[in-house]
Symmetry: none
């Protein structure tokens, strides 16, 4: 997924450290970058950063229950995909999990293959788009790293500009926090203002409205 530069990031919130370790290894083998939290409080804290592509949350967690964690994330407008793991497999349990905001619900014990397939299904949506991503009336050509304007003009983007714009365009309705963009497109060791600067570059090339600022929250793709 992602074009070999950045791996999809998974946050694994699981108190059983043995299971967590095994899963982390499994995920690493599939090319995911995994971080782990062992209680709900920590999970909440990390989940709020928005640095992840998918969250895997165990339902039974110390300090803060899995579903409660999920509800709090959703209450704070975190839209990251969430897969809930649980030993509780009754229909009512599954319904409760999904209605708490989970995108999928997998009952333990499960097979590695199915977990991976469900992760792929969750991840696909954010990444798919084949060759172009819609960009208002324009489009982003993923192959050539160019923006194609309605009349056919093409504007070439540099590597970083492209990564940033693609990240925004992949989830056009979401608001992307600065910090998330910084870890995703750049690195955590990069200066704080790098995202601002690149938003500025994009606006220079594509026009003021290409990227929308939502003050205090982050950036969102706009009309090109």
């Amino acid at each position: 997924m992602r074009d070999g530069v950045a791996k999809p990031r998974v946050l694994l919130v699981e108190d059983d450290r043995e299971l967590a370790g095994m899963l982390a290894e499994l995920l690493a083998g599939e090319g995911y970058e995994t971080e782990a939290a062992h209680d709900g409080q920590r999970g909440l804290h990390l989940g709020l950063t928005g640095h992840y592509d998918v969250l895997i949350i165990d339902r039974r967690l110390p300090v803060l229950d899995g579903l409660e964690l999920l509800r709090r994330l959703r209450a704070r407008a975190v839209t990251t995909r969430v897969l809930v793991l649980s030993a509780l497999g009754e229909v009512a349990d599954r319904v409760a999990g999904l209605d708490a905001g989970a995108d999928d619900y997998l009952v333990k014990p499960f097979e590695a293959e199915e977990l991976l397939a469900r992760l792929r299904a969750l991840g696909r949506r954010d990444l798919e788009g084949a060759e172009c991503l819609p960009l208002g009336t324009a489009a982003l050509d993923l192959r050539r790293h160019e923006v194609v304007l309605p009349r056919g003009e093409r504007i070439t983007l540099s590597g970083r500009e492209f990564e940033l714009l693609r990240t925004l365009a992949q989830r056009p309705k979401a608001i992307h926090p600065r910090a998330a963009l910084r870890t995703r497109v750049f690195t955590d060791s990069t200066g704080e203002s790098i995202v601002d600067t690149y938003v500025y570059y994009l606006r220079l090339k594509l026009g003021r409205d290409a990227v929308r600022t939502v003050r205090g929250l982050g950036y969102q793709i706009g009309v090109v």
Copy 2:
């Protein structure tokens, strides 16, 4: 889903007409607008129109198998959410379904409740950015920190304004004491009159009646 005006549209591709009829009824009862196709060919044709919010596809279908149908849709860049139904419940079957492009996979027999919960989960994903609290005739967009007026106008709120309004709107019938609001939205070390000031700001932006004063007791959300 969509914006509360239009009902979400479901395309049901299922050859068992009895089951299809029951499901259609169930879905109608939940406010979905359902159309049915009874074979894969017809499902493909309708699915390609892109008129639907969700496709429910039975795996075993005449003329064109369910997974093959799904693959062809995906090959033609149809990104509509798909829930696959199947009597085949082995892990390998589920993995095959998901990897063919399904967003979710539900094994027959299933309970109505779970189908509905999974549909809700799928619908939610497109909704990103629309989660709202009702606010009289208007609504509070929790993701964007904006008030959406009936005609679609949007009024952006600052962080504090938003927190205050959300607190009030979360329990619309309650009267919120000044002290409680001050503790919750601001801090106890903030000046006594901070809540008054922000109520004033909200009324400036939203109109005099947005917040109701209950003298001696506190504030209550009003009509926007």
